[in-house]
């Protein structure tokens, strides 16, 4: 990785945008999206880290990204369900 790697720049940018969004936005949906931006930045950084070995990519960061994506998807789904519930305060029952 000599010079400025565009992917590294993108990863840092995604994390920075996400953190900025989390601090500035009030609406939970925007905050959830901001968190997903941070997450994608971190995952991109991990993929970059996997590239650093001379002989082929390092499998460990790849495994971390895959696990991380699974966790991010389920946590985002849970967050969306909560946001939907919050938007319908009259509904206190089951779904």
């Amino acid at each position: 990785m000599s010079g400025i790697d565009p992917f590294a720049l993108a990863a840092a940018g995604l994390m920075a945008f996400g953190l900025y969004g989390f601090c500035v936005c009030r609406h939970p949906l925007r905050r959830l999206l901001a968190i997903n931006l941070v997450g994608n930045g971190v995952f991109l950084a991990l993929i970059l880290i996997a590239r650093r070995l001379p002989d082929g990519p390092d499998p460990v960061p790849h495994a971390m990204v895959l696990t991380g994506i699974v966790i991010a998807v389920s946590a985002t789904a849970f967050g969306l369900a909560l946001i939907r519930r919050q938007a319908r305060p009259e509904d206190d029952g089951n779904d």
Binding site: F22, A45, I49, V60, G68
Partner: protein
């Protein structure tokens, strides 16, 4: 045989929770077996670890770079013991507490074993990424539990908790990625030797990891999600969250600081963490004193009490190490007792405004006894566990010549006495008319006495500290 114990500690609760989910209805007694079996496993583990050697389970028999190890040393075993003891008490308490509501009971008896298994896995993890996964499991099992108090009341608190928890774990993961890029390993035992020092990336990685954990642990600037979530959840859940879930984050901080991150941390960072801790003690206690609802008093008290554990970092001597960990144990037991007792008052009154507590001492004498006894440990009066912990921290602050932490300890204790006695004063105040407003039923013996048993244990921790501190041992890596 002993290598199987860590594995069973993770898988038995997970299987129980999944089985409960598949079954589709609540079977409270089966969970009593699980928490009892869990305690038995931890006691067997305790016997194995007491020899001084950690128990290590090598999952799948893989070699060093790919291996996933589960490891139980003194610190992990103590946390497992705290979790197991509280699990037995809280599971018993939850039988009547969730008795009448079929759906929320099923949800509770599904999520609670999953949370127990996740906590066990977190304490037993030995690599940074496994810790990330278990942290997320803990979060995703804990937040739905908050919602059991009724979605209408708690959805805001749960959502805020989730957003902060997710942000915290991603910041943690960013730190882990940065650290892996330099060290090429995630194993806690291999990291200190593999981490190159001198570059800027190492301390940055450590800072990210620590910041992520601080968000998860609700330490002062990041505490804002805690009071609403812990105050709004059902009592049994509040006890689990306050006594165990946030404690798990602080446990992680203690473990990483003295192990994997040891080459990267500086004295200045330790002082900064101590400052955050001391501010949390003062701010949290003050806020607890100002609240008008009982469960918020107890929740803000958690913000304060977690701060004491951070006082280890600036001092870093044996007494501070033992004091911080012992404070974790004592606060865990006492806070669980406080929340269960507060839950009993809420159960009877149908609300928890402090003003409504007047004259409640006659119908709810046992629960108030529990509240008072647990309060003794929170204030740090002898002979309670809280006293032992604070005494060790005081000794450490005088040993290291950092007297200003003593001031925070003393002020925190006084403020704690203030908010505990404020509640007790109202409860024992004899109003003109006798307490006739029976909005709810009197909590049964099981609910009253589990809270009292935990409160008595919080006092008793002051008397049985020697074997527990022996098990904990000195700071890993020697310390100063």
């Amino acid at each position: 045989m002993t290598e199987a114990l860590p594995v069973l500690l993770v898988f038995v609760p997970f299987l129980a929770g999944l089985g409960q989910f598949v079954l589709g209805r609540a079977v409270p007694w089966s969970q009593q077996f699980v928490s009892g079996f869990n305690l038995l496993l931890v006691l067997l583990l305790l016997r194995a670890v007491a020899g001084g050697e950690p128990v290590i389970a090598d999952l799948g028999g893989w070699g060093e770079p790919l291996a996933i190890h589960l490891q139980a040393d003194g610190l992990a075993t103590l946390m497992l013991l705290l979790t197991a003891v509280l699990a037995v008490a809280i599971s018993l308490y939850a039988i009547p507490a969730f008795g009448g509501h079929a759906r929320s009971a099923w949800q509770f008896w599904t999520l609670w074993p999953l949370l127990l298994g996740s906590l066990n896995a977190l304490f037993l993890s030995r690599d940074l990424f496994n810790i990330y996964v278990t942290l997320e499991l803990v979060t995703l099992a804990a937040i739905p539990l908050v919602l059991l108090a009724g979605p209408r009341k708690t959805v805001d608190a749960a959502l805020r908790y989730l957003l902060f928890a997710l942000l915290g774990s991603l910041i943690y993961l960013a730190g882990v990625a940065l650290l892996y890029a330099q060290a090429g390993t995630l194993d806690l035992a291999l990291l200190p030797a593999a981490t190159p020092t001198g570059s800027l990336a190492g301390p940055l990685a450590a800072a990210l990891i620590i910041t992520g954990i601080l968000i998860k642990g609700a330490i002062l600037p990041f505490h804002i999600w805690l009071p609403a979530a812990h105050g709004g959840a059902p009592a049994a859940v509040s006890a689990i969250l306050s006594a165990l879930v946030v404690k798990a984050a602080i446990y992680l901080l203690l473990r990483l600081w003295t192990g994997a991150l040891e080459p990267l941390v500086s004295i200045a960072a330790g002082q900064l963490l101590g400052l955050l801790g001391a501010s949390a003690v003062l701010f949290g206690s003050w806020q607890a004193f100002r609240q008008s609802r009982l469960k918020l008093v107890v929740a803000y008290s958690t913000v304060a009490q977690l701060g004491y554990m951070l006082l280890f970092f600036p001092m870093a001597v044996t007494a501070a190490w033992q004091g911080a960990v012992y404070h974790g144990l004592a606060h865990g037991v006492a806070k669980a007792a406080l929340f269960l007792a507060a839950g009993n008052l809420l159960y009877y009154l149908g609300q928890d405004r402090l003003e409504a507590l007047r004259g409640i001492d006659r119908p709810l004498a046992v629960s108030l006894l529990a509240f008072g006894l647990a309060g003794v440990s929170i204030m740090g009066l002898p002979p309670s566990g809280g006293f032992t912990a604070k005494w060790l921290l005081l000794t450490a602050s005088l040993q290291t010549g950092q007297w200003w932490w003593t001031a925070a300890l003393v002020a925190g204790g006084l403020l704690a006495a203030g908010y505990i006695f404020r509640v007790l004063r109202l409860a024992f105040l004899q109003s003109a008319e006798p307490a006739e407003r029976r909005d709810g039923p009197v909590p049964g013996r099981l609910m009253a006495w589990t809270a009292t048993a935990l409160a008595l244990l919080a006092i008793g921790l002051g008397l049985i500290s020697a074997p527990l501190l022996d098990l904990l041992g000195d700071i890993p890596g020697g310390g100063s």
